[in-house]
Structures are given as C-alpha cells and as structure tokens.
C-alpha cells in the first residue's frame, strides 16, 4: 500500500485505520467485482423462461417465499457484497420502470461482465470496453426499433394484449391458468386506463388475496374489497344503492390537541357534562343520518356507545379502514373524504350500487365488497389459491402482467420473445462491429456474444442443447432474413415466434439493454475497493 512520508520519515495517514481495512486495486478489483456480479447472475440464470425453476427463500424470521421473479429473489437474498448490491438495484429499477424482465436484465448484465473479463485478460483498458459496450448498446437499441412491430388493439379487441400478458405469465407458477389471469389483468388495466392520454394509474388496481379455494376462482371485481366487516354483528350484510359517508374522524368525544382540564366540582356540572356527552354521540350519528348516508366507512374506531347508536339508528358502519383503502373507496364511489362531522353534506357522499359482506371457509374471515360504484375506474383483482406462498407468487405475477399491459397502452410497439429479439440484435451488432476501427471493435463483438446469453439460458432451461439450438436459430434468422425466429421452449414445433404468439414489449427490451449496459459500465469503471476488514 502506497504511503506518503513527511520530512521526518513518519507516514501520513491517508485512510483512517488503514491497517484494519482491506483494499483491492486495479485489475484485481475489477476481477473481484466481475466475479461477484457473475455470481448473482448465475443464481438467476436458471429462473429465466417458461421452463425456469423457482427459488425458495427463507427470511430471517423463518417465513418462506417461493418465487421466480428476479426482483423479489434479489430483494430477499440479504446480499452483502457491494457489487452484488448494484445488481440488486439494477433488477429493482427494471421492476419500477417496466415491471417485467427483471430476471433477464440481470442475466444480460452477468453475460456482459463475463465477456468483459475476457477482454481485460487480453489487456484492453476497462474504459475502452465500457465505451465499446456503449456503442453496441446504441446499435442494439436502434435495431430493436427497426424490428419492432406496432399492433392495434382497442377496448373491443383485447386479444393482442392478452397474448402479451400470457407470455409474461408463462414463466410463473401460475401458468396453469395463464389465459384467465391474463384476461383479468388486461380487463383490469383497460378499466382504469386513460386511452386518450395513454396513461394508466396502477394505483387504481388493487390486488387482494385470500388463502383458500383454487387459482381458477380468482376474479376481477369492478369495485373495491375491504378486508373488514361491519362494526356490529347484527348490521345488515347487504346494502343496495348505498350512499357512503367516508370519515376520517373517530366516533368518539373530541380530544382537543391543546392541554386542558374540565373540572367537576358540583353535582350540576356533573349532570351537564353527562348530558353533553350523550348529546355529542347523538349528534354525530344524527349528522350522518341527516345527510342521507346509508353506510359509514371510518378510518378510526368507534366507542361502544356510538356503535350501539349506529346499530339502533339502522346505519351500518365499518371501522378501522386503512388510509389507502379509504382513498380508493373515495375514488371509486366518487365521494369525498370528510375529516369532520360538521362538514358532511349530501354531495360529499360516495355512491355504490351494491355493498355486501362475504365470508370464507370455516373461519370467521369476512370481506366487504363495494361494487357497481359511481366511478368504475377502481378495480380489484381478488386472488384465491391453495396456500399463502401461492397467493404471494400470484400477486407478483399479476403485478408483472399488469405492468406489461400498461406498457403496451403507453407504447404499442412489440418485439417477439423467445430470445428472437436478442439473437437478431446480436447479428446486427456483430455486423456493425467490423465497421469500427480501434479496440472498441472487440468490445462490440463481445457485446454481441453477451446478447446470445439470454437465448442460450432459455434453451438450457428448456432442456435443449444450448449451443446447437442457438446456432441453428441464428443461421435460420440470417438465411431467411426473419428476425422472429426464437427458441422453441415449449416444444411446439416451430421456431417462428409470430406463430407461437410470444410477444414482449419494445420498451421493456430496450430498457433491459440500456440498464444492463449502464450498470456494467459502472462496475468496469471501479478500480479501487476499500472495505473494512472483518474483525
């Protein structure tokens, strides 16, 4: 470790507690980083594609998660290495931005790193590799746009959307009923989509799950479900044409925030206070009744007395409804959230065609369905499944499918899946490489090789001969000049992904390539790792 000395020969301390830190420099550091990145990619590699396997993750508290979703696996993996953390971030940003392809992006980055390692061994400077990758990624990006196809859909013709969602779902455990789930997802997205502005607010889609039943029982509800029941067991279980008062104030005597005291020192005061209190409860309930509400939904709790009064006045009520749900209810029913009883007016009430309570199984689980709302823009996907892990995994899968449908509404360009887009890009990048003079040419060629990693992993996971299959498909693409040839994962018998109806969104693919390249560039630029050594 390089040290600086002053004029008396004493060393300057540059790093605090230098001795207790390990430091990796130069090529060593890059190699270590690359191998960490590769290790992460190796974990995810087997999860890619329709025949990909799942991972079982046990959290520090002993809960078990079984998933196939790249972002979830990495999130729960409890990673310690800094570079591995970068890869986790990478997958997460793909998740936030696109929602799907979280596994693919990591596999891609891993392949790029692997190629970079080889180039480093040949003595090519990391920055030159990074620049070469940059150029190559731009070529691939533009090539994707060229091979992409627009396709039309409308509220009447949802078939293309459903097909794309099915491609996403086919790699998950729910692929048993991917058709119905894809339809549910597409319908949900279309229900909340703003087709003019090409925007979808996914917050309006609530995904709820309840253990029990079978996956086929999963349904789309044009309305909201709340995991609560009526505050009093004898309130009516079904309300038609409900007018809903949405309150964020408790049915309790007021609690002023300023400190105060009410002193009782005479009998009269005691009496008046008592009457005051009674009147207070009475007023609250009366107020709700006066504006014509037939259902009260409240964020807070009720005093026993208030509960009884509500029951007595025949005003069903729900208590302890969460803030997010309250907002959704307000959006769905067109009501306003009212923070004070005094501000209740008939206009602020939400309207719903049907509110009903449903119970499940042999336990006391109850859910409240609010349906036929004034504003049907909020929908709920209600998942049933054999066990808790299944429900969680289905939720994640549905999330992916929803994101894909949303992306298609934003931009209706698609590329074909099954690795066909990657292979086509690889061919294009390879061809372009020869035109670049200088060292970058090698990096660009390496990029083309890395692009082959995704179809290769697909073939491997499907039990095919990876190299044989890949080279066959590649030559077919060049020979027939057909960028739609991919890996036939499901053994259908054709390589043409157009016939297999396997689509992916253009922006998803583009984002994958860009994000992966960026992260790899960042990793390559690191030449010094300083970390506290273990003690």
């Amino acid at each position: 470790m390089a040290l600086a000395f002053d004029e008396y020969g004493r060393p300057f301390i540059i790093l605090k507690e230098q001795e207790s830190k390990t430091r990796l420099r130069g090529i060593e550091a890059q190699k270590a980083n690359i191998s960490a990145g590769k290790a992460v990619a190796r974990i995810l590699r087997t999860s890619l594609g329709p025949k990909g396997m799942d991972k079982m993750l046990q959290s520090p508290d002993g809960d078990v998660t079984i998933t196939n979703d790249g972002a979830t696996i990495l999130e729960q993996m409890d990673v310690d290495n800094q570079i591995a953390k970068l890869m986790v971030e990478l997958s997460r940003s793909q998740d936030y931005e696109i929602g799907d392809g979280t596994t693919g992006v990591v596999v891609m980055a891993g392949a790029l790193l692997e190629q970079a390692e080889r180039l480093l061994e040949r003595g090519i400077h990391p920055i030159r590799i990074a620049e070469g990758y940059e150029v190559a990624s731009r070529i691939a990006f533009e090539h994707l746009e060229r091979i992409a196809q627009k396709f039309d859909f409308g509220p009447a013709n949802i078939e293309p959307l459903v097909q794309t969602c099915m491609t996403t779902l086919s790699s998950k455990i729910v692929n048993r009923c991917k058709r119905s789930l894809a339809e549910i997802s597409v319908k949900a997205v279309l229900a909340v989509a703003d087709l003019e502005r090409k925007d979808v607010n996914l917050d309006l889609i609530k995904v709820e799950g309840k253990v029990g039943g079978k996956l086929e029982d999963t349904e789309l509800i044009y309305g909201i479900t709340v995991d609560k029941d009526m505050s009093h067991p004898q309130m009516p279980k079904q309300i038609k044409d409900a007018k809903i008062a949405i309150l964020t104030c408790p049915f309790e005597p007021p609690k002023p925030k300023t400190k105060h005291k009410v002193d009782i020192d005479t009998v009269e005061k005691f009496q008046t206070l008592r009457q005051q209190e009674q009147k207070y409860f009475d007023d609250m309930v009366q107020k709700c009744k006066d504006v014509g509400s037939t259902l009260v939904i409240c964020q807070w709790g009720f005093d026993d007395e208030a509960n009884h009064l509500l029951m007595h006045r025949n005003l069903p009520a729900v208590r302890w409804v969460g803030g997010v749900e309250l907002e959704l209810i307000a959006i769905a029913t067109g009501g306003r959230i009212v923070p004070r009883f005094q501000e209740l007016t008939p206009e602020k009430l939400g309207k719903a065609g049907l509110v009903r309570e449903r119970s499940f199984g042999t336990t006391k689980d109850k859910m409240l369905y609010i349906e036929h709302c004034a504003n049907s823009r909020a929908v709920t996907i209600f998942i049933r499944g054999g066990n808790k892990m299944m429900i969680e995994e289905t939720k994640r899968s549905i999330h992916d499918a929803l994101c894909v449908a949303r992306n298609l509404i934003r931009n209706n360009s698609i590329v074909y899946g099954g690795g066909s887009a990657e292979i086509s890009c690889s061919i294009a990048v390879e061809a372009a490489a020869d035109k670049y003079p200088g060292v970058e040419q090698y990096a660009i060629r390496a990029f083309a090789d890395a692009l082959d990693a995704v179809p290769m992993a697909l073939a491997e996971n499907s039990g095919l001969q990876p190299i044989e299959t890949l080279s066959a498909v590649k030559s077919q693409q060049i020979k027939e000049n057909n960028p739609h040839c991919g890996i036939d994962c499901n053994d259908v018998g054709t390589n043409d992904m157009r016939e297999q109806n396997v689509f992916e969104t253009l922006i998803g693919k583009q984002q994958q390539i860009l994000l992966a390249t960026q992260v790899v560039k960042m990793i390559l630029k690191i030449d010094d790792v300083i970390s506290p050594s273990e003690y």
């Binding site: 396997m53 991972k55 079982m56 290495n81 004898q234 009410v262 009884h308 199984g361 499944g385 039990g463």
Partner: protein, 498 residues
C-alpha cells in the same frame, strides 16, 4: 481474487440437486411423522408445549399437530401451510392433504433420480390431477333433491369423519349431534351459531345438544333462578360507575360534603339507568360488562334476572337466538344451538371439541355442496385407475409422472391399511382387482380387515373435501418441485435476555 461470498455472514445457499434433496427430505419427514394418524385406526400424538406449564395436548388432528411443530425446513413449512389452509377452508382432510403431497414428492424424487426434468414431472402431475378430478366428478352422488336421503348422507359423512377420532366409540351419538346442529343452521356456514361448552365429568355419552342457548354463567345474588317466557335485554354497557368519556374531565372537590354529593349524583345516574332498563318490561338482563353490586341489588329488587360478564361470542349468539332488543333487525333468530360436551378429562374434551369441529365443518360445507363420494380409500382407487389409463395413452416422458401420480394415490389406502395393522399389499392388490369391474364400490373395511362394499357399510366422504385435498396437494408438490435453489437468511438475532 475470487469472491466466494456475496451473501451476508450466516446466510446459506443450496443449489440444484442439493436444494431439491433438502426439500424432499423435509417434506417426506413431515409426511412420515403424520402418516400414522391417518384412517380410523390411526394413532394419536402427544404434543408438549415449550411454554410455561408444559401443557400437554393429545390429538389426532393433522392441522393441530403440524401447527404445534417448530420446523426449520422450508419445504416442510409449505406442507404445514397447506394443512392449515385445508383446515380453514373445509375443516377436514388435514392429514390426507399432507400425506398425499408427501407421497407425490416421494414419487417425484425417484423420477428426478431417473433424470426426468422437474418441469416434465410437473406437467405430468397437472394432467393427472385434472384427470383424477374428472374421474371423481363422474362418480359423485348428489342427493340434494331427496331430503331424507341427504340427511342419511350427512349422517354417514359425520360418522366417517368421527371414526378416525377419539369419539369413534360413540360416533353414532356424536354424528347425530353434529347433523342436528348443522341442520338447524339452514344452509349457512356460520358455525359461530353453534356453541360448544366443555364440562369435565361424566362420560362422552352424556354429551347433549340443547336447542336453545346455554351461558356458562351464574345469576346474580337474590335474583330468580328460573324464568319462563323471558324477555331478555342483551347489552354491552358499563354497569359500574359510568365514566365520563370527554377527554380531560376530572373531579375536583374541596370538601367532603361535595364528594358525597357527587357520589349521590353518580348513584342517581345508575339508578336511572337501571330504571330505564327495567322500564323496557324485561325480566332478564344479560350484560357483557361487569355489573356492580349496587345495580345488581336494584335488579334483584325488581325481580329481574341479571347476568354479568357474558363473553363477546356469547352475547352475539344470544342476541341471535332470542331476537332481543338489539337483535330486532335479525331475520332468522331461531338457528343457534349449543352442544354440551362431557368427558373424563380436559384432554379428552379438547380432542372431542376438535373432532366435533371437524365434523361440523365438513357437514356445513356439504350442505352447500351436496355432492358425496364413498370413503375408505374408494375415491383414491377410482382416481388411480383413471390416471393409470391416462398414463397408458400419453406419449413421452410425462407418462412416467402420471404413473407416479397414480402410485401416490394408492399410497393412501395402503397407509390406512398399514395403520390398522392389516396386510396392506394383499388388500390393495385385491382392491385394485375389484376396481377393474364397472361401478365397483369396494374399499377397505378396517373393522373386518378385508375389502368391503363401501355403499353398504355406509362410509361416505364429502366431494368438496376430496377435491380440496387433491388440488392443494398437487399445487404444493408442484411448488416444491419447481425449486432449484434455497437461500436461507441468517436467523434474526434475538436480544439476550438474561
């Protein structure tokens, strides 16, 4: 320098074959543990809690056993979860579902060892499960139209469910109790309306069903002990000193005289309240909260029966039964009832309650879905036969998986026979031969130890239970099979409390 570790310190990672091995071993261990409780001659387990007092539970109920186990193996946790869900959804078959899932995995392990890809096994299992379900659907009996027959169906199902439990000696008696109780519900699955009270003493046979409502409470001192044509007020109100709920209120006095005055005012208030209650013209008052001595005395004076501290459920049920004051909006008040269990010890009573709960759950589900199957291993044999047929017709590696599925199904009657101390190989072979005839009703008759006609013996099971067992077990096996890597995080450190 190579980086070996990317995970945190204590986290462990198992890959590929090793991971699969770990899940198979875990799942099969759980199955072997619980296997012996299956069937009418299944044995019980003693569970000792690690908590204070080392309480002991004796049970035969799969869900209860698994719930109390502390398991570290993630695959085993999946099995425990499906058994819990089975309990919540249909209430019975909690052991069968775990055993079937375990047997499926045991078969899958052999296939994986024979180099068949897990995905191929899964697709085979899926086809087999679908086929098995259809086979069951073809053979179900639905007696919805015929009330008389349906009731006897219910009776048979209840007896079959109870026969594997501690209540098997008096199963007829208890089946009758359960059927009567469920019939009173008139099709609702709201088991809350059936109350079970446990009173140690007497024998199990002395248990009875009361068509009214029993509160395990004492009546206040000096009040009438028996009321006919009672008018009941059910309330949830404080009958001690009514607290002022306005925030920040407090009593501040400067002399003893004032204290007395305020006390008098409080008393006055209570008196008013009692007067108001009595003013409703009632002669029985049930309260969820405490009743102080003073109001109790007032009630006694007025000749009103007052009961304090009724529990939450009790109040709700009572309101349901009587259609009292707050129950005025309720439509069908006469549906609740109470089952009083008698037995030698708490353990027996607890187990009896669990068994009865299973029976009640199954019955209430059957009332909704009236399709019925025969029991005693009959459904498994029917499914196995159809699945075998399918295996023969299916080309490719999948057929191995389908065949394995049918072997796993046959494992259930095998275990039932083994548990009864019978020669399972001989019996199952006989059973299989019988089932190759059309419309066969043969199953294992554990009592005589031979193959018998299940329809004649009156052994029935609910279709809904069998279907749930089949589907959840396949789903769980599929989930575990798909895993090729297990990442275990370091357990969260607990602070040392010395």
């Amino acid at each position: 320098m190579a980086v070996d570790r990317i995970l945190k310190d204590d986290a462990s990672e198992e890959k590929g074959e090793r991971a699969r091995m770990a899940s198979f071993v875990g799942a099969i261990a759980i199955t072997d543990l619980i296997k012996t409780t299956l069937g009418p001659k299944g044995m019980d387990k003693i569970l000792q809690s690690t908590g204070r007092g080392h309480e002991v539970t004796v049970t035969n109920d799969g869900a209860t056993i698994l719930k109390s186990l502390h398991i570290d193996n993630p695959a085993a946790k999946v099995l425990i979860d499906i058994s819990k869900v089975q309990d919540d959804e249909v209430g019975d078959g909690t052991t069968s579902v775990v055993v079937l899932a375990g047997e499926l995995l045991r078969e899958a392990e052999k296939l994986v060892a024979a180099k068949i890809h897990p995905m191929t096994i899964i697709s085979g299992f899926r086809m087999a499960a679908e086929c098995a379900r259809n086979a069951l659907l073809q053979r179900v009996v639905d007696n919805k139209e015929n009330a008389e027959k349906f009731k006897s169906d219910l009776m048979k199902i209840a007896m079959t469910t109870l026969s594997s439990k501690i209540l098997s000696q008096d199963k007829e008696h208890f089946a009758q109790l359960a059927v009567d109780a469920v019939m009173r519900l008139k099709g609702s699955t709201n088991l809350e309306a059936i109350q079970i009270i446990k009173k140690p003493g007497g024998s199990l046979k002395d248990s009875f069903l009361d068509e009214g409502f029993i509160l395990d409470k004492k009546i206040g001192v000096g009040q009438p002990k028996r009321i006919e044509n009672a008018k009941i007020l059910v309330a949830n109100t404080a009958m001690d000193t009514d607290k002022v709920k306005i925030y920040g209120a407090r009593v501040r006095v400067d002399s003893m005289a004032k204290v007395a005055q305020i006390e008098a005012a409080e008393k006055e208030k209570m008196k008013e309240k009692v007067q108001k209650i009595i003013g409703h013209g009632i002669n029985c008052f049930v309260n969820r909260q405490l009743i102080y001595n003073f109001p109790e005395e007032l009630f006694a004076d007025a000749g009103v029966l007052a009961i304090e501290h009724a529990d939450f459920d009790g109040i709700e049920r009572l309101a349901l039964v009587t259609g009292g004051e707050i129950a005025s909006t309720f439509d069908n008040p006469e549906s609740a009832c109470t089952i009083v269990l008698r037995g030698a010890s708490h353990h027996v009573l607890d187990e009896a309650e669990r068994s009865l709960h299973d029976a009640l759950c199954v019955l209430s589900q059957t009332v909704n879905d009236t399709r019925v199957l025969l029991g005693g291993g009959w459904p498994e044999m029917v499914m196995a036969k159809e699945v075998d047929e399918l295996a023969r017709k299916t080309p490719g590696k999948k057929s191995h998986a389908i065949e394995a599925f049918s072997r796993a199904l046959i494992a259930i009657p095998t275990i039932i026979a083994d548990n009864a101390g019978l020669d399972s190989a001989d019996l199952v072979a006989k059973l299989r031969a019988e089932h190759h005839k059309e419309g066969c009703n043969a199953g294992i008759d554990v009592i005589t130890g031979s193959v018998g006609d299940m329809a004649e013996l009156g052994i029935s099971e609910a279709f809904k239970v069998k279907q749930a067992v089949l589907l959840s077990a396949t789903e769980a096996a599929e989930m575990i099979l798909r895993v090729d890597e297990i990442i275990t995080c370091a357990p969260r450190r607990r602070e040392d409390r010395m």
